[in-house]
Amino acid sequence: MDIREENTDSKLIAHIEGEIDLEKTDDLREKISVIIDNHKSIELNLTKVTYIDSSGVAVLIESNQKAQELDKELTLNLSEAVLSVLKMAKLESFFKMA
């Protein structure tokens, strides 16, 4: 899994690629948390994520909750793989989409 940050005029885009599973989620949680602390508007670009398990979904839920608590805007841009898992968890409307 790779994370690349792109600063635009309106928001920070975190481009996340590869597979998100239990082995990667500690690192992902920490990096997204720092991004939320340092930026007002954030997009998580997950369009190149090929696999996400429930531990990865948990990181997305935690990140969304943290952003709400800090009054930050967090949006997601999803791959079909991620969208299908969020639909299975009935979470597709829980997140704000980019």
Binding site: D21, L22, E23, Y51, D53, S54, S55, V57, M88
Partner: protein, 133 residues
Amino acid sequence: MLTKTFKGDKSDLTHIRKFIQDFLKEEGIKEDLQYQVILAIGEAAMNIVQHAYRGGDSSKKIKVDLSLEEQLLLISFFDEGIKVDPSKIKPRKLEDIRPGGLGTHFIKMVMDDVQWGEVKDNWVNNLILKKKL
């Protein structure tokens, strides 16, 4: 039947998924169904690492048996971790949105049958997942 043994650690979760994916590809299973099965299998393997091995123990093993006969996919996991009490495994309610508790939901949603089998030798738990393909 195919059998492979992995480390009881999160570093081998990707290898367990690859093992299953290669098998499903070889059997000509369509991609969206492959993805669902791999998700369920990945969750089952993650549960073993997280709970039976309390976050992972690379000195312990996870054995995976795979077979497909008359379109019935059978995946059997063996581990040597803490004995699982199946009565305590419950998915969370989906409307109760919080981190965690989704893995069991995914497994039950994808697979047709989830059972705990009898164990022998040094194995402690045997989780058997079945799906008609």
